[in-house]
């Protein structure tokens, strides 16, 4: 028996604090985004009225239908940018590093660097609790993490209202985002679940993939100073019920039946294709806004 294992205090501390460390994977580095998944979403953005696969509740759908893109030009919103969910639907690459305790060397937090339109995500690993329900919210939100084997699972709360899709599908300030960071060699997959009691009837899931790169990814972005984009102060652009002129754009473009375009939990599942099989005709070859360019070799 070694001296360490004969000392019960050391033994207890070893069992309680050391095993998670053994399971940790190094996530640090610069990670280039492979925008092959949801290319249109990450590039130009989804078509107006494309709510396919969004598990809306009635409020969520009504809010999306009232949305006008001109909202982004409101002076109060020009610099508001995105909530942390944008990490999953955005196009940029990420830089990840860990902050360590200078005495113990333990990882206090994993950090996913900011983009110009998304705040830094600090994933606290030191067991601190999430703030109270009455604490303020921010674009960054508040994130804690735990290792589950080789997978880092991060839970984000306290986000401000943001976009689930950039066509008016919203996330509320009561949403919870659970993101799994899964590293396989030089590949990093993020799998995220969004629970939102305000706008969704079921959780929404999305994944994205990055590849490790020697190219340095800088974190952060320029300061934001709002200019005049033509929407007068105090004006709130929106569409009245039944008057959104863009609602049938995606239906015409892709021959998608209305019941699929307007979303709902049912539209997430493979079985929904059976329901639509006689209502869908393949559209002509796409010539415009067909998604992101193919990834470089």
């Amino acid at each position: 028996m070694t001296k360490t294992t004969r000392n019960p205090i050391c033994l207890a501390i070893f069992f309680c604090f050391s095993f998670p460390a053994l399971a940790q994977v190094d996530l640090s580095g610069s990670w280039a985004s492979k925008n092959h998944e949801d290319g249109l979403e990450r590039g130009a953005g989804p078509n107006p009225g494309d709510f396919t696969g969004v598990p809306f509740n009635e409020s969520g759908r009504a809010k999306a239908l009232a949305y006008s893109q001109s909202e982004l030009s409101m002076p109060e919103r020009i610099c508001a940018f995105y909530s942390q969910w944008h990490m999953m639907i955005g196009t940029f690459s990420v830089k990840i590093w860990n902050e360590t305790d200078s005495v113990t060397g333990k990882t206090v937090a994993w950090v996913v660097g900011a983009w110009e339109d998304r705040a830094q995500m600090t994933i606290w690993m030191d067991g601190r609790p999430h703030p109270s329900a009455n604490a303020p919210h921010s674009q960054a939100g508040f994130t804690t993490g735990v290792w589950d084997g080789d997978v880092l699972t991060a839970t984000t709360t306290h986000m401000l209202t943001g976009y689930l899709r950039r066509n008016g599908v919203m996330t509320s300030d009561q949403a919870t985002m659970i993101t799994h960071f899964i590293r396989h060699g030089d590949m990093l997959t993020l799998a995220s679940q969004l629970d939102d009691p305000i706008y969704l009837s079921e959780p929404y899931y999305i994944t994205r993939t990055f590849v490790n790169t020697p190219a340095l990814m800088n974190s952060g972005g320029p300061p934001c100073i709002p200019g005049d984009e033509g929407v007068p102060e105090g004006t709130v652009p929106h569409y009245l019920p039944g008057q959104n002129p863009l609602i049938d754009e995606v239906m015409k473009l892709y021959h998608i039946p209305r019941e699929a375009a307007i979303g709902g939990a049912e539209t997430m599942y493979p079985a929904f294709r059976d329901k639509l099989k006689d209502k869908f005709t393949i559209p002509p070859k796409c010539t415009r806004n067909c998604g992101a360019p193919p990834p470089p070799n």
């Binding site: 000392n7 409020s59 604490a135 209202t161 300061p223 929106h238």
Partner: protein
């Protein structure tokens, strides 16, 4: 070689270390008697759970409170403030005349200390000028009118709860704890007796029930409230607050304490204002198309916001009705 009793003692010591450490981490949030005390700035707190939210500014002059919560929560509020400071409360500033904002006025004021301490030796001055030696209760005259009644009539609140310093202008200023404080009267919003309280150095605005994160705004048309006044007030609140630009991710700008619900910033007020404007526009369009109030209610004009602000039974209909009445009232 370690004896078995020594081993057991050390095991207990190890577990106590681990358990104590864990409970210390879990106890990091400030709760006091079921109240949630949220630190806003180094010298500023928000107490939630006592009815309406209470703002607490602390400095060398003592404590300035914005609103007092319900009467039933007063003892717990006092205990929570005592945990923050031993300094006496000097002022209570009311944002409105609802029981969940002014119910605790009397108890909290009596537990405080007047700023007119040089008059304490004179009983006439004490009673007439200093609220019996307690803290002053400052509010717009419209709040005093809502809480009191003409002689011979029954008032909504006992006289001990009434404001002791009422002002008639649209803006009242004072300087406490080396900070300029503006009390801004908003006519015809949630009712005819609403105020914002703006702490200029702390960069905190207490908004009262004009901004309620837990429900649609309660617009009391019978008491002088109106949808346009509510929108005007929210626009003014947005103008008072500053977002965290140009370095948008470095902290939060102006903090806004809503009448109820979590601590907010400007973007939260923008979202709330947008909701009120959009529902107003939808109902105005329905009125223009000749729809009756019942037909409008049936058409769910506030549908996009019902899961967020309409969970309290009847609150959606009450809001729709108030907007309808406000829009159809004879000018």
């Amino acid at each position: 070689m370690m004896g078995s009793s020594t081993f057991a003692r050390r095991m207990w010591a190890a577990w106590i270390l681990i358990v104590f450490g864990a409970s210390t981490i879990a106890g990091g949030q400030q709760t006091s008697g079921g109240l949630d005390v949220v630190q806003v700035r180094p010298n500023f707190y928000m107490i939630a759970g006592a009815g309406g939210n209470i703002g607490v500014q602390i400095g060398v002059d003592g404590v300035v409170l914005v609103d007092a919560g319900t009467e039933g929560a007063s003892d717990r509020v006092l205990a929570a403030i005592r945990k923050l400071t031993e300094l006496p409360t000097r002022y209570i500033i009311n944002t409105g005349a609802e029981p969940d904002h002014v119910g605790g006025n009397s108890k909290l004021a009596k537990a405080g200390l007047t700023i007119f301490t040089n008059a304490l030796g004179n009983p006439n001055f004490t009673n007439a000028m200093t609220n019996g030696g307690g803290a002053s209760i400052l509010a717009h005259d419209s709040i005093l009118k809502r809480m009191s009644a003409p002689t011979g009539k029954t008032s909504a609140f006992p006289v001990e709860n009434w404001p002791t310093e009422a002002f008639y202008t649209n803006r009242k200023t004072l300087r406490m704890n080396d900070e300029g404080i503006e009390v801004l009267h908003l006519p015809a919003a949630h009712s005819d007796s609403d105020s914002f309280v703006f702490f200029r150095r702390s960069d905190v605005v207490a908004a009262g029930d004009i901004f309620d994160m837990t429900r649609f705004p309660v617009i009391d048309v019978a008491k002088g409230g109106s949808i346009q006044g509510e929108i005007d007030a929210l626009n003014r609140l947005i103008a008072l607050a500053i977002p965290s630009g140009p370095f948008i991710y470095e902290g939060i700008g102006t903090y806004v304490i809503p009448g109820h619900g979590r601590l907010c910033e400007q973007l939260d007020v923008v979202n709330y204002r947008d909701m009120v404007v959009i529902v107003r526009d939808v109902i105005a369009d329905m009125i223009k198309r000749g729809m009756t109030l019942d037909q409008i209610k049936e058409a769910s004009p506030a549908k996009p916001y019902e899961t967020e602000y309409g969970t309290e039974p009847g609150s959606t209909n009450a809001f729709v009705e108030a907007v309808y009445k406000s829009l159809t009232a004879k000018k």
